[in-house]
């Protein structure tokens, strides 16, 4: 049974505030410190883990960073996918039926259910292609 604590609410509110972006634990912590919110680093990590476990947040490692990003699942559930430019780091949200089709194909033909919310494709974006 999860308790509805002040610290849990703080995390949820912050995550909602940044729901369009992925945000790292350490980035959340800076905001927490800036705003002098009442939650410690250890608790932040514990709350994030528990929200992921409950299926409220998604944890994802973007780029070759050593830190994980968190995002509300709500914002991921309507099948859009992420492209990340390897040159400029830009994150592109892609709505694309072909990706859904690929996922169906992999499910039917290769017997593997892809978790659509975690699809991240790396490559070169429009702008960076031009400057090559």
């Amino acid at each position: 049974m999860k308790y509805n604590t002040k610290q849990r609410q703080i995390v949820l509110e912050l995550i909602k505030e940044f729901s369009d972006e992925h945000i790292t634990a350490e980035a959340l912590l800076s905001i927490i410190n800036e705003r002098k919110l009442d939650i410690s680093r250890a608790t932040l990590y514990r709350v994030l883990d528990s929200l992921v476990e409950e299926g409220i947040l998604k944890k994802i490692i973007v780029d070759n960073k050593t830190s994980a990003c968190f995002q509300l699942c709500d914002h991921l559930d309507h099948h859009h996918f992420h492209l990340i430019c390897e040159k400029c780091g830009k994150l592109i949200h892609l709505d694309c039926e072909e990706v859904d089709e690929l996922i169906s194909h992999i499910s039917m033909e290769h017997d593997f259910d892809v978790n659509a919310s975690r699809v991240v494709l790396y490559g070169l974006c429009h702008d960076c292609k031009k400057s090559c």
Copy 2:
């Protein structure tokens, strides 16, 4: 200009030995210690970085691990893709034309060149689906 040092050779040989798998720097280090090979942790990281920079290795973060894996580019260039089971962690190598097609589609229609060697899809594998 890169020098062909003993340490560089050690890293290349180890990476070749494990070319079917991704392998982390720390895993390499255990092997290095086991076999009493003559290369330090710092040098290992530096050699890995430099091999990535030269395009000989790929660095990839698999799973939500905080550690990067390395693999020879050779082994990635003939378009196969990676599926990782979120439950059992199994890594599946997938040869699938539909993925190539998706990549072409994204290139043509969305003006983004996906780096095929970095495509990793997460989900549930055959075996874990059954046990759900």
